[in-house]
């Protein structure tokens, strides 16, 4: 188990170093000058040069890279070019939205997917199964931004139960903040729940064919009892993989939904950073997301080992 852990940790560290180099190099070849963007069309060349020096853009590439990585290690992400505040503060504010939103969406999708999959697996190839699968097919096919717009149209424009978007911040209180996250979380959860339900259903059906299920049935358990008590746990491995992937996706990939609901999340911070050439923000958020994704993968790997003891014994 320890060797397994050590090897996983080494992979994690190497991935981070490689990612930091790739991200930094990509950012430095992006065309466009942050100073020029900030100063606009009437900028005086002397003022431009002064700003470039102020932002430290006139120094060699290697110096800038080492300074950035050195800062990252001690948790200092540097100063945003355009916002003029520390990048860590910016990211922290956005995480305050993106993390709860991702969790909420994930929770919703799990809460919807597990009962739906159990329901469908119990009624394999019958009407219930077919309708759940049909609905989940629609859930995957419907673009989530369009679904989000429908939600806004119904709940904000017509019924006026929710604001059409925006985020008042946690300072405004728990209820207003959660209210602002409800519609976006539903819009994000729908396709994820559909995917999860389909994966879990087929995993359940696979395990239902196993010998131990037949034994359990022979002991007198009903099909449903065998499913819930024995098949479910064994079907969790592929589901865990999907949940890990989904969480990373929800954290970083919510940008379209953030746009529809004009939420200040991480996705929009990256998007704004790119258009404004606030490269230090972009590279810092991206490296953080890389870290989050590798960390989640790492944790999922560890979780496998707990669920399935075979994986612990060095055959990885």
């Amino acid at each position: 188990m320890l060797r397994y852990l050590a090897r996983r940790l080494l992979v994690l560290a190497l991935t981070m170093v490689a990612a930091s180099i790739v991200i930094f190099l990509l950012m430095s070849v992006v065309p466009g000058d942050p100073a020029q963007f900030m100063m606009g069309m009437n900028a005086d060349p002397a003022a431009l040069a002064a700003l470039r020096a102020e932002l430290g853009l006139d120094r060699p590439l290697l110096v800038r890279y080492l300074e950035w990585v050195g800062g990252l290690v001690i948790g200092d992400f540097g100063q945003s070019y355009t916002y003029r505040v520390s990048v860590s503060q910016l990211i922290l504010d956005r995480i305050g939205l993106s993390l709860p939103l991702a969790f909420l969406a994930l929770l919703l999708s799990v809460v919807i997917a597990i009962p739906a999959a159990l329901f469908a697996a119990q009624r394999h190839n019958k009407a219930g199964d077919i309708s759940v699968m049909g609905l989940s097919q629609i859930g995957i096919a419907v673009p989530n931004f369009w679904f989000a717009m429908l939600l806004v149209l119904l709940f904000s424009v017509t019924l006026r139960w929710f604001s059409a978007g925006g985020f008042p911040g946690w300072d405004a209180g728990f209820v207003p903040a959660m209210k602002a996250l409800t519609l976006p979380a539903i819009a994000l959860a729908l396709p994820q729940a559909s995917i999860l339900a389909r994966v879990l259903r087929s995993a359940l059906l696979d395990t239902l064919g196993e010998d131990y299920i037949r034994t359990a049935r022979a002991k007198g358990l009903s099909r449903g009892q065998a499913l819930r008590r024995h098949a479910f746990r064994n079907a969790l491995i592929p589901v865990l993989t999907i949940i890990g992937l989904q969480f990373s996706f929800l954290l970083a990939g919510a940008i379209i939904i953030e746009n529809v609901f004009f939420l200040p999340g991480l996705g929009r911070l990256v998007f704004q950073g790119i258009t404004q050439r606030d490269l230090i923000v972009v590279q810092s958020v991206v490296i953080l997301l890389v870290f989050a994704v590798t960390l989640v993968t790492f944790l999922v790997d560890i979780a496998y080992a707990f669920i399935d003891p075979r994986l612990r014994r060095g055959t990885v």
């Binding site: 900030m38 606009g40 355009t82 904000s156 929710f162 925006g166 529809v260």
Partner: protein
């Protein structure tokens, strides 16, 4: 049963509570903006969104733009100009304090102007200050500015957002915590979402009607539409989706506000590059464009055709649209005379705004009619600034020049369209030396004529200001003499 109902009702009340309150607010206003300002210091950045939040609300200059575009007194209550046009003596307003409680006096004016013109200044409009020779505080309420040469636009220059007066103690932190002398003080910025201003109790002038103003940032046009319809936003002064305006017009809850801006939108031509160094080719391009069709297609009919680089609402405006009238036959003849009867292939580089992207498609198809094959290249702003604006690596481009009264850019040799004319520079020099209004207007007319005769760019249209507001919210600016959302005169009608 009744208990369960009571819980349900309580939950529903909780859920609906905040929405109901928001609907009843009459003392504040929520204003929608498409872009979030990167920071809130108008003296250190060119982004229009900065001025759209703080101009006239938080910060004030010596002079300011009024809603009709005229220059009126602000912190300087009156002034006198010496006969040689070199010395301006400003008398400042009394009892003015900054929002942090510190007093405002002549030293703050000296500090602000000196800072803006300094060597290490990062003011985006540094040229506004370039002919100031010295700034002196005569006494706490009097400032004397001496120019190195006469400049008839000096009072106009001092009205820009980039020339607002800041205090030395707070200048360094204005980007995140702006401290000015205006009727509203900065309250709170939820980054990525909104900026809130609150009425200042210590304002020296007439207090505004609104107690709070919240600027909410909504980038997506569809989301902007939904937010207006849901009543989350009280006004969207620059509404990003002109195609939805008809729907608002039909709805009595809303008022659609159409005005003009200072945005001369041009089909920019690289004058330094063959074949565009030939005036006949540029004239051919000008005649190839049907401006009304362009306005109808790209702006849903809002916008005014122009024939030179000048705003139609300005008193010195000269209507030169006939000189660039739509005449494809003439275009073909001109191209033939220039030896290009086989047609040419060019690139048309477009920045992100919808007037450019939508307009670009129409312009390209109109150019194709006369044998000019324009290949469209879409660029982000940062790329556009680098390729087109800085390096002049382009054939044609579409962009709106949003600064007020900016015809003097045609006197700059290295400006992106690379127009070089000694005649035009002479006209601009004459303008600088003239401070008489009528004489200045005559000179401005000659300037318009000169660049229209040279067909420097194909002048397309004056960008409209298309806004939507709650029908009960009054006092919003109709036109945009500068990019601002002046909230000082805004109020709710009973």
């Amino acid at each position: 049963m009744s208990k369960r109902f009571a819980i349900g009702a309580a939950a529903a009340a909780l859920l609906l509570g905040s929405t109901a309150l928001a609907g009843a607010q009459e003392t504040g206003a929520t204003i929608g903006m498409q872009l979030e300002p990167p920071n809130l210091d108008p003296t250190a950045g060119a982004a229009a969104a900065i001025d759209e939040v703080v101009y006239a609300n938080v910060f004030e200059g010596l002079t300011r733009f009024a809603a009709d575009g005229t220059i009126v007194p602000a912190l300087a209550r009156e002034w006198s100009i010496s006969d040689d046009g070199l010395t301006y003596t400003f008398t400042l307003a009394d009892d003015v304090t900054f929002h942090d409680g510190s007093a405002f006096d002549a030293e703050d004016v000296v500090f602000s102007l000196t800072r803006a013109m300094a060597e290490e200044s990062t003011n985006a409009q540094k040229v506004l200050f370039e002919d100031i020779a010295s700034v002196e505080a005569i006494d706490p309420a009097t400032v004397e500015v001496t120019l190195s040469e006469p400049n008839g636009s000096f009072l106009f220059n001092m009205a820009w957002g980039d020339a607002v007066i800041v205090a030395e103690e707070s200048a360094g932190s204005n980007a995140t915590n702006p401290v000015g002398t205006g009727p509203f003080r900065f309250e709170n910025w939820v980054q990525g979402d909104s900026v809130t201003l609150a009425r200042s109790d210590t304002y020296w002038g007439e207090p505004p009607a609104l107690e709070t103003v919240t600027f909410k940032f909504i980038a997506d046009p569809t989301a902007a539409f939904a937010a207006m319809m849901a009543g989350d936003i009280d006004a969207f002064p620059n509404f990003p989706a002109p195609e939805n305006l008809v729907q608002f017009e039909a709805d009595p809850r809303f008022a659609v506000i159409i005005g003009s801006t200072e945005g001369e939108t041009v089909l920019g031509i690289n004058n330094s590059k063959a074949p565009f160094d030939d005036v006949r080719v540029r004239e051919a391009i000008a005649h190839a464009i049907d401006r009304q069709a362009l306005i109808d297609g790209a702006l849903f009919g809002y916008g005014t055709p122009i024939g030179s680089h000048f705003a139609p609402h300005h008193p010195a405006y000269l209507d030169l649209t006939e000189q660039s009238n739509y005449d494809p036959e003439r275009s073909r003849t001109l191209l033939e005379e220039a030896g290009l009867s086989d047609g040419i292939s060019v690139t048309l580089k477009l920045p992100p705004p919808s007037y450019a992207r939508r307009g670009g498609e129409i312009v390209a198809s109109q150019l194709r009619e006369v044998g000019i094959n324009a290949e469209i290249v879409t660029l982000e702003w940062a790329q556009w600034l680098e390729q087109v604006f800085t390096n002049a690596d382009f054939d044609l481009t579409i962009v709106s020049h949003t600064e007020p009264l900016d015809i003097n850019i045609y006197a700059r040799d290295d400006y992106y369209f690379r127009y070089q004319s000694d005649q035009f520079k002479a006209i601009m020099a004459e303008l600088d030396e003239t401070s008489d209004e009528a004489a200045r207007n005559e000179i401005l007319k000659r300037a318009q004529q000169q660049i229209a005769d040279d067909y420097v760019n194909a002048f397309l249209f004056q960008l409209p200001k298309t806004g939507v507001a709650d029908a009960r919210l009054k006092g919003l600016w109709e036109n945009a003499p500068t990019q601002a959302n002046d909230m000082t005169g805004v109020y709710w009608e009973e």
